[in-house]
């Protein structure tokens, strides 16, 4: 039995830190592997050692300037995904915030039923309706324009994800709305000029999630784009193709490099928005 409080604390902390360190190592190792081996040179396509013996930028060069665009056309995939993600992000952010505002601030007869329907529909896993979505898109003649089809798919139902931001809006005192109304502001003006500036954290959160969703989605994109040529692929579909049996022995390192590049826009977006996130959270905290 260890009596000293300090000794006990040190022992407990050591144990905890070793455990956490171990878990952290396990968590970070695939990422470290990914980044490290994306710079691996040499003839072997798959790794033969844990730490690469030769280093090169060739894999990245090959990804950006593919020798055979029929196999890898990463710049095109990247552009496709970027366009889809940007547009879906803008449309769905707007939709989510507006729906949340309406549910939070307006009182109308169908409010409760609509909230419930939204909840229930939100409980169905998205991939359940995927075949139906495909045929709907086909009926609209959008299958040959996969970018448009995907933007519609990602942003059409976005308003259903209103729960979190509605919760946030509910915490903003209604007295502010009332004050603004007395000053002559319309509902629309209140949303844009009062509520939105006070909701930066939730705005950032919504932008991030609605950008990352389309950026990383695979299943729906595969169904909509699958029958089209590789010039219409998104990064997720393209990269998945590269680890298939036919390509792995020749393009595994390009796959690794591509995966690293995919993380760049998301990271950049997060770093850029992070300051508003923190600022917003603290500002909200002071007001209570």
């Amino acid at each position: 039995m260890i009596k000293s409080y300090k000794a006990r604390r040190v022992l407990a902390n050591t144990f905890i830190y070793i455990l956490l360190g171990g878990l952290g190592l396990i968590w970070i190792s695939p990422l470290a592997y990914l980044v490290m081996h994306s710079f691996r040179g040499g003839k072997a396509e798959l790794a033969t050692t844990i730490i690469p013996q030769e280093w090169t930028l060739d894999n990245y060069a090959k990804v950006f300037n593919p020798p055979d665009p029929n196999v890898i056309n990463f710049p095109q995939w990247f552009l496709n995904t970027f366009i889809i993600a940007i547009f879906s992000c803008m449309i769905s952010t707007l939709a989510v915030l507006m729906v949340s505002y309406a549910f939070s601030r307006l009182r109308f007869k169908a409010r409760k039923p609509l909230i419930n329907v939204g909840m229930i529909l939100g409980m169905f896993p998205g991939f359940m309706t995927m075949i139906a979505i495909y045929y709907l898109m086909k009926a609209m003649g959008l299958i040959s324009m996969p970018k448009v089809a995907l933007i519609i798919c990602y942003s059409a139902g976005a308003g259903l994800g209103y729960q979190i931001s509605k919760g946030f809006f509910d915490t903003i005192p209604r007295a502010l709305d009332e004050a603004a109304t007395i000053d002559g502001a319309t509902r629309n003006q209140i949303f844009w000029k009062i509520i939105l500036p006070m909701s930066k954290p939730i705005l950032v959160y919504t932008v991030l999630t609605s950008f990352i969703g389309p950026w990383t989605d695979f299943i729906l994109a595969k169904i909509i784009v699958g029958a089209q040529g590789p010039e219409h692929y998104t990064v997720a579909i393209g990269l998945q193709k590269l680890v298939g049996q036919e390509y792995k022995a020749q393009h595994f390192r390009e796959f690794l490099a591509g995966s690293v590049i995919v993380a760049v826009p998301i990271t950049a977006l997060f770093l850029f928005m992070q300051r508003y996130y923190v600022e917003g959270v603290t500002a909200g905290g002071v007001k209570g």
């Binding site: 072997a44 790794a47 055979d68 029929n70 196999v71 139906a132 086909k138 009926a139 299958i143 699958g226």
Partner: protein, 426 residues
């Protein structure tokens, strides 16, 4: 209110699915009847079709060759207005995409023969109208791989979708490469590995196949049928494999086939020989350079006699979509894309082994070490066709247990019987 809305949405969705499917059925029916009606001979190979628009799916590596061939096809019929779009679609993925939506899929598409059953089950493939010529010019096994019942359902495109032996000539001599024992001994001397993906059903089925097991199609209720095999002989073969793997456990490595090219490209080389798929041939040849050796699979000594290892061998086929609006033109194009000249062109440009009996003898094929090895092995093989989905996983388990577990003959016999029962889903 809630219920009403949910119901409305459900009905809308169901409706859209039914409408889409219905349209599909109608088209499939009309096109196939158009096909049989059009076979009355009026001297026009297209049977009246004109202003033809075709979509062709080909593998990305083959896209340029396919485009050239399609241009030749157009030039062959100058009086017809033919518009052909060639699109990249991986052969491993073709069936899934065709089944996803046959109407949006290509008229003519290339696929691996193991997908034939899936495509057939949904009637997405149109039978070959003029099959006599196709049957005559292609190898018997490749035709068998495209045949279901009495009907030929696709045009054989290649004959090399299988696996064979690759080895490092600086370690394994051509003489060593003839027997598995010789290869293992040579590998041990050099302290290098032999790779075989024993846990993968595609490779693992070679163990019982070598003992005389073979496939006989699928019966009406979807169960895999086997030939009338000699169980004792198969078990003897399994025992021989298992013993060899245990005796040489220091050099035998069960790992996915990409490990071979990687292990040979490493410095110093780790792998000396292995059973590799034809799709990796370029990577292995690149890694080994002048030391690249390829041959049919070796023999294994079973109770004193050397038995040739029997593999599973696949083919790439070109199929015609049953929903095609131009069935006659599609048939003609598929025929053109798989004739002797087209297959030779693929052999020269892409090193794809032909299924055409004349093209196989061409210099472009016989000079290619890997290609001749695969085609050589195809004589000792079971075609990869009419296989149930339940086949692969039990085979992989059997293969894994051969080297992982130390089992005696009775245990192996029980394991083999269990494998067959699992495949038959009993």
């Amino acid at each position: 209110m809630k219920k009403f809305l949910a119901l409305l949405l459900a009905v809308l969705m169901l409706g859209s699915i039914l409408v889409a499917c219905g349209g599909n059925d109608n088209k499939g029916g009309s096109s196939s009847s158009g096909g049989s009606g059009g076979s009355s001979d009026d001297g026009d190979p297209f049977h009246g079709e004109d202003n033809i628009k075709l979509l062709v799916w080909a593998a990305d590596k083959a896209i340029d060759v396919t485009k050239e061939l399609c241009d030749e096809f157009k030039a062959k019929y100058p009086d017809k207005k033919i518009d052909i779009t060639v699109q990249v679609q991986g052969e491993g993925d073709a069936a899934a995409q065709v089944l996803n939506d046959p109407e949006a899929a290509a008229d003519v598409f290339s696929f691996a023969c193991d997908q034939l059953t899936r495509l057939m089950n949904r009637e997405t493939l149109a039978p070959v109208f003029e099959k006599d010529d196709v049957v005559a010019r292609n190898s018997e096994a490749s035709v068998a791989a495209a045949t279901v019942g009495d009907e030929l359902y696709a045009f054989p495109e290649t004959g090399d979708n299988g696996y064979y032996l690759v080895y490092d000539k600086s370690v394994v001599s051509d003489e060593d490469a003839k027997t598995l024992e010789g290869i293992f001994e040579a590998c041990r001397k050099a302290g290098r590995k032999f790779v075989l993906d024993a846990g993968n059903g595609f490779f693992a089925c070679l163990f019982p196949f070598t003992g005389g097991l073979s496939l006989e199609g699928i019966d009406e209720d979807g169960t895999q049928k086997f030939n009338d095999y000699d169980e004792e002989k198969i078990v003897d073969t399994l025992v021989a494999f298992s013993k060899l793997f245990h005796d040489y456990s220091d050099i035998f490595l069960s790992s996915e086939a990409t490990k071979i090219s990687t292990g040979m490209a490493a410095n110093p080389r780790i792998v000396a020989a292995g059973v590799d798929g034809s799709w990796n041939a370029a990577a292995v040849a690149d890694a080994l350079g002048d030391d690249f050796g390829a041959a049919k699979l070796p023999t294994i000594n079973v109770n004193g006699t050397d038995e040739q290892i029997v593999s599973m061998h696949g083919y790439k086929l070109i199929g015609v979509n049953n929903s095609s609006k131009f069935p006659e033109a599609s048939q003609l194009l598929a025929d053109f894309l798989t004739d002797e000249e087209a297959q030779l062109k693929r052999a020269e440009v892409l090193s794809w082994g032909p299924s055409n009996t004349n093209a196989v003898k061409d210099k472009a094929v016989t000079d290619n070490v890997a290609l001749s090895a695969i085609l050589d092995q195809s004589q000792y093989s079971v075609p990869q066709v009419n296989i149930t989905d339940t086949f692969w996983s039990p085979m992989g388990t059997l293969g894994n247990d051969l080297w992982k577990k130390d089992q005696n003959r009775d245990q192996l016999k029980a394991e083999f019987e269990k494998t067959i029962a699992n495949i038959k889903d009993e």
